[in-house]
Amino acid sequence: MLTFSRWKQITILAICLLGLIIVMPNFFPRSTVEKWPAWFPRKQLNLGLDLRGGAHLLLAMEVNDVRKDWLDTLRDDARRRLREAKIGVSAVGIAGNAVQVRVAKAEDSEAALKALKLMVEPLGNPLLGSSGQNVDVTKGEGTSITITPSEAGLRQRVIDALSAAIETVRRRVDAMGTTEPTIVREGTNRILVQVPGLQDTAQLKALIGKTARLSFHEVHPTLTAAEAKTTRVPPGFKIYTGETKEETDQVLRETPVVRGDELTSANPAFDSRTNEPIIDFGFNNTGARKFGKFTQDHVGKPFAIVLDDKVISAPVIREPILGGRGQISGSFTPETSTQLAIQLRSGALPAKLTIVEERSVGPSLGNDSIEAGTLAGVIGATATILLTVLVYGTFGIFACVGLIVHGVLTIAIMSLLGAALTLPGIAGLVLGIAMAVDANVLIYERIREEVRAGKSAIAAIDAGFTRAFVTIADSQLTTLACALVMFWLGAGPIRGFAVTLTVGICTSIFAAVTVVRLMIFYWLNSMKRARGPLTLPV
């Protein structure tokens, strides 16, 4: 029968009150909320970028870049290992998807194979068992040995590179001084960057769009690029193209003297004589030592500064640079030098990132959307309240109170979850409200039906709730199944929609059934006290 034990009543009312308290901060400006005592909930509902304005970038990492880079590392590693084992080679190079080594003397091949086998490392957690090897080292025809990266190894490489890239992107975005950027992994090779409040994405894209891999190379002492193009490039050297037309192409030793990852500082500055924008940089200890030794040995000769495989400048070494500090000049503008300094400080990206999706919403449109949504919401709510009260009288008022509880609890849970409310999310809210209204309509229509069938008021209410509940549960659960599938599969807007719908369904059973039932219980009690004839207002 229609009874509620005292503790049950208290629990229901407590949940409603708790919801109300959690929702409170949303009705006050942020500055006011921040002054509230710490124990009071201060979390406001997160608005999605489409409502508050901001930029959303999806970046994809070039898996081929990672592969190419790895092959370079493997080749250098193989060369080093053979040199340390004092084995002469006639050629070490990259052929397709593998590193090919040709040993000079046939009798050395076994020793070479043994030395190169040391490059094989198991993948995965040693405790959970290895999931394969990073590379396969096999002996080919004659004196050749092939080092082939495995697919599993590449996958691991991509995962590591992506984690490193996320860190780098975060440092670069943070350097822009924006608030609360979100930078997360998406899938196997993508990074999602969301910056609320940012509309002009040009600077952001420029910062992220460059790998910014800096290296310092030895220039070939005699050969010019033009000569090298007609003849053969000597082994270990490579032609690098110039960044701008002023920098002619150069023949440089492929393995750099120092790399950008040994930089400890990089700051934009101006050259004291020419007033051109430059970058001041400093090396760490090992970098400084290597650079110092190199400049000492090559006074009077040029060296080249290479950024992302392009020569940006090739100055002549006038004197040894021993302090580990130096300057890079190139054809910079003040903006590009600032950008490059940020990029160098935050470290190079392990591979190139391409923007595969970009969305940005200006704050004015976001505001318009919120205003339009609020207006439509108020009108829709008014229409619903009028209709329900007109058709169901006092019980209609109960249903509307239930709806308000539904709205409050939905927003409270969204605030607690930290889920963002997006424009499609509002649509999910609307569907949730429609389902809550439907639950009440089902109950009240059922009560009317039972009354027509000749039941007493209390029996009709009781039967109405019990019978309608089966239908309500069925319809809510099917919708819930649908919402969960959407959440699981959906991208962007679909997911935002699914979240609010799921939360809405969960709260609607409590608000539209339990809370309304409690109100009817109180109403019945007050009727009993009035001792009048009991007629249902539905």
Partner: protein, 330 residues
């Protein structure tokens, strides 16, 4: 409770109304299947006007800072740039303009160069309000996830209905729901309205609403099957639809009121979404009455339900006698 006035609601609905739905079931089913076929044909022949999400390319919404936007002049200015496939249309208010730039040949780099040209050509007179650019790889993925989401949503619903009812109900539900999705897609194809991720969200909402309707009717059918063991199936289906009709109309009216408010006042960005929802609710209400239920009559359904109120309670018998008296059958 003393603060809440005690007054009776207005029961607008003529409850002895017995509309003979099943008499027109043949006609309704034929019409529905024709409409489904036509929608499918439209989809295959005319296709959908895919938005940036599904086709790739760039969409820029700008607002003129100086009163109404001069669209012909914009067309001429942007036409000279040599960027392929640029569309310009007004959007909502006269000051708002929507510019679409098709996916350019080549990779993301070419697209960005084309977009930069357009943005530079727009100059200072326009404020950028919204920018969406989706590369070819992502757009084909989104198309696929959108499709999978709708199909999987459908499957989840059908699985639940099958689990809770009988396979006949599940089959009725899947036909009714496919009908709703197909017709909505067909109308989007016919009117060449933009079809994007938010339209897919709308389709999923329609699924949710329509299955809600179908479940309410099915629940009543199941209950009546237990209650009236000897009643002829079509008569029983008619009775069930009529008994739930007041609820169907009331819930539908509230949903329509809210959606109309959203459609009219909710702003330009979600107008397409709301239009799809409005369509879907009307189609979904129709389908649960005219497709889901009649199919049960054709498929035949188990009459021996275990449990529940197997024996007819005295007042239920009275109600039944009253109900039967009110039925106007020829």
């Amino acid at each position: 409770m003393m603060f809440i006035p005690n007054f009776k609601g207005y029961d607008f609905f003529p409850h002895d109304l017995r509309l003979p739905f099943m008499r027109y079931k043949g006609l309704a089913l034929i019409l529905s299947f024709v409409a489904m076929g036509a929608s499918l044909a439209l989809f295959l022949v005319k296709g959908l006007n895919y938005g940036v999400d599904f086709k790739g390319g760039t969409m820029i919404e700008v607002q003129s800072k100086t009163g109404p936007a001069d669209i012909p002049q914009l067309r001429e200015k942007l036409g000279k740039l040599g960027v392929g496939g640029v569309q310009i249309q007004s959007f909502g208010t006269p000051a708002d303009v929507l510019i679409r730039i098709e996916q350019q040949e080549g990779a993301e780099v070419q697209q960005q160069a084309a977009v930069k040209k357009v943005v530079d050509a727009l100059g200072e007179g326009y404020q950028q309000r919204r920018f969406e650019s989706v590369g070819p790889a992502v757009s084909s993925e989104l198309r696929w996830t959108g499709f999978i989401a709708v199909v999987a949503g459908l499957m989840a619903i059908v699985a639940y209905v099958w689990f809770r009812f009988e396979w006949q109900f599940a089959l009725g539900a899947i036909v009714a729901l496919s009908h709703d999705v197909l017709l909505t897609v067909g109308i989007f194809s016919l009117l060449q309205l933009e079809f994007d991720l938010s339209t897919v969200a709308a389709l999923l909402t329609i699924l949710g609403y329509s299955v809600n309707d179908t479940v309410v009717v099915s629940d009543r059918i199941r209950e009546n099957l237990r209650k009236y063991k000897k009643m002829e199936i079509n008569e029983l289906l008619d009775l069930s639809i009529n008994e739930t009709l007041s609820r169907t109309i009331l819930t539908g009216a509230t949903a329509l009121a809210v959606l109309l408010a959203l459609y009219i006042f909710g702003g330009e960005v979600i107008r397409n979404f709301n239009f799809a929802m409005l369509l879907g609710i009307i189609i979904g209400t129709y389908s649960s009455m005219f497709i889901g239920a009649p199919l049960l009559g054709y498929l035949g359904v188990k009459r021996e339900w275990g449990g529940g109120s197997a024996k007819v309670a005295p007042n239920a018998a009275a109600a039944r006698a009253k109900d039967r008296a009110g039925v106007v059958y020829k």
